[in-house]
């Protein structure tokens, strides 16, 4: 029984919501008022029409007065459709109240005047006006004025004797009074119950909101706590990395000295071992440096250091420094710089870091192949974009690994770690550095055919032309592996 009832209420609620236009549904107060308005208009005619029905029963000679009353009451059903069709709410509510005043005064006028059994309905006017129109004083005054004007008109008719009073027998009058009073009470009770329900649901809503706000503030403080912990961690890592670098530099430096001495003396066994110590030291130093850089970025301590940078020279230096490794793997490094690149305002050390990492990777994962480095300018939204691409003909990256490539500690698949080494920090760091420079790294890769990493960094428009160099003459289109080196390259183990 209870379930059937709640289902009916649910269906009815759906019907009510059907009539509420979106503009009203968005505002909670307006929605609540429209709800009361619709419930009153949908159920009202059922209860209200009890009066004309009773009149048909009690009046020995029902006349046009009953018919007009029934039509007026039934016309309340038009209002929900008018609302849905987009009629403005407040004027619509006022028209509805006007109709209500008319129905009540009409029935009083024809059936008993001031002592009419339908007088009790007058009480519904202020109650409904309050429900429909909210707390606006202006609208309340309009309702009172409407009532006064209506009353005056009916009084006028009465005074000038256009009276069409219907005389009912006393018993019929009492029967009508009983029916009318019960209907009016039922109607007012229904509206009061519904209003109470809305108030209760609002109280629920408010307590729910308070709960949410408490949760939100707890979340905020938890987030702040986490941020503090994160900053402390980054600070610790930065300090540790710095402390680690000092002894590490000694290990690398002294192994370098011993290595140079062993080479001079032609001591091959020592040379091989010392090279291993030296390389392991370099690897560890690289790892420590990357951790330091990453933690600096995470602690928000990394800042841009902009200057005019000759891109050809920067790339030339980098390619020169990786030349020995490239030659070891049988790789050719080809660099093409478009003539308009010249020098650009950017952060030299971060750019060098990023390109160096990508070059190292390209060489590491390519054998007897080609590494193409190209630099060019593209017009961007605000100034130019420096585009540097490093394309290799190496092993490539599987599509499922491309997406995870820039995550910390990801080095292709695990099996490649053992073969190629790598810290798994390099690419993550490179991308973070690029992001810091407002740029990005794009990856395209084909397993077995090679990878292409494209770095895009926005550079501010050049202030003057003094930094422009004839880059094309320095780096001809057909430039091969070492176009930047005037003298013979010296082999360096550093």
């Amino acid at each position: 029984m209870k379930r059937v009832l709640s289902e009916i209420i649910l269906k009815f609620d759906g019907l009510v919501n059907y009539f509420i236009p979106e503009t009203i549904a968005a505002d909670r107060d307006a929605r609540n008022r429209a709800h009361v308005f619709l419930i009153s208009h949908i159920l009202g005619p059922f209860i209200g029409n009890v009066v004309p029905a009773a009149l048909f029963v009690f009046d020995p000679h029902p006349n046009f007065a009953v018919v007009v009353l029934a039509i007026s009451i039934t016309s309340f059903w038009v209002f929900p459709f008018a609302l849905r069709a987009g009629a403005p709410y407040n004027p619509l509510a006022l028209v509805s109240i006007q109709n209500l005043i008319f129905c009540i005064l009409w029935s009083c006028y024809f059936y008993g005047g001031v002592t009419s059994p339908t007088v009790a309905w007058v009480l519904t006017i202020p109650i409904l006006a309050f429900f429909y129109l909210g707390s606006s004083t202006k609208l309340r005054l309009i309702v009172i004025a409407m009532f006064v004007v209506n009353l005056a008109i009916f009084c006028g008719f009465y005074v000038f004797s256009y009276s069409a009073k219907t005389e009912l027998p006393v018993a019929a009058m009492q029967g009508l009074g009983l029916v009318s009073t019960i209907a009016a009470s039922l109607y007012v009770t229904m509206m009061a119950v519904y209003y109470a329900k809305i108030q209760a649901s609002q109280a629920d809503l408010e307590s729910e909101m308070r709960k949410h706000m408490i949760v939100a503030s707890e979340l905020r403080s938890a987030t702040e706590e986490a941020e503090r912990a994160g900053a402390a961690k980054a600070e610790f890592l930065a300090r540790m990395s710095h402390e680690l670098r000092t002894p590490l530099n000694a290990v690398i430096g002294y192994s370098q000295i011993l290595l140079e001495e062993a080479e001079d003396e032609g001591d091959d066994t020592s040379t091989a071992d010392l090279t291993k110590i030296h390389n392991a030291g370099q690897h560890l130093l690289k790892l420590v440096n990357e951790v330091l850089e990453l933690s600096k970025i995470e602690a928000g301590k990394m800042e841009l250091d902009l200057s005019e940078v000759r891109i050809d020279r920067l790339l030339g230096d980098l390619i020169y420094s990786v030349e020995p490794q490239a030659a070891e793997g049988g790789n050719r490094v080809i660099c093409t710089i478009s003539p308009d690149v010249g020098s650009q305002r950017c952060d030299a050390s971060k750019l060098r870091n990023v390109i160096g990492q990508l070059l190292d990777n390209a060489i590491k994962f390519t054998e007897n192949g080609k590494i193409d480095v190209t630099a060019s300018l593209e017009p961007g939204e605000d100034g130019n974009i420096l585009v540097i691409a490093i394309a290799d003909t190496g092993i490539g990256i599987a599509p499922d690994q491309v997406d995870r490539l820039f995550e910390t500690f990801i080095v292709g698949d695990d099996s490649s770690t053992s073969k190629y080494g790598g810290t798994g920090l390099g690419l993550a760091l490179s991308q973070k550095l690029c992001k810091l420079m407002n740029g990005d790294i794009l990856v395209e890769s084909d397993v077995g055919r090679g990878s292409r990493f494209t770095v895009r960094i926005p550079v501010a428009a050049k202030a003057d032309a003094t930094g422009t160099f004839a880059a094309a003459t320095l780096v001809p289109e057909s430039a091969t592996s070492d176009p930047f080196v005037g003298s013979a390259p010296e082999t360096s183990h550093a």
């Binding site: 690398i252 370098q256 001079d264 952060d347 360096s492």
Partner: protein, 129 residues
């Protein structure tokens, strides 16, 4: 044989760099702080000074400024060594009168190149990017 004055407060770095430079045929003398660097520049009259900028009480910039303000030592080329490859450090190097600038830990081949450049044409200011 060219004489190089190395101003460096870290003992290990001082030892390593001086030994490596000596192996490449330079005579090396060392100062452990800025003040000693300034006085040794005048007494030793080296052909070139390698100046660590992150020294204790008197930093490398200050020491360089003092060396450059003394007419006797003003002509000695100075290469600044810093831990960070910051453009601001490089600008500061030029400002106080350094001939060149390099980062630590040193890439010996690169540093040797810069040293040779400075010794060939001591008056020039050649700051690499």
């Amino acid at each position: 044989m060219h004489k190089i004055l190395l101003v460096e407060d870290n003992e290990l770095n001082r030892d390593m760099l001086s030994r490596r430079l000596q192996r490449h045929g330079f005579s090396v003398c060392c100062a452990v702080d800025g003040a000693e660097g300034v006085s040794m520049a005048a007494t030793e009259m080296p052909d070139l000074i390698l100046m660590d900028v992150a020294l204790g009480a008197m930093d490398g910039w200050e020491a360089t400024t003092l060396i450059k303000s003394n007419p006797a030592t003003a002509a000695i080329p100075i290469i600044a060594l810093t831990a960070h490859a910051l453009a601001s450090d490089r600008d500061k190097s030029v400002e106080v009168g350094c001939s060149d600038f390099d980062t630590k830990p040193v890439d010996l081949q690169r540093l040797l190149g810069k040293i040779r450049d400075c010794l060939d044409k001591p008056a020039s200011v050649a700051i690499a990017v």
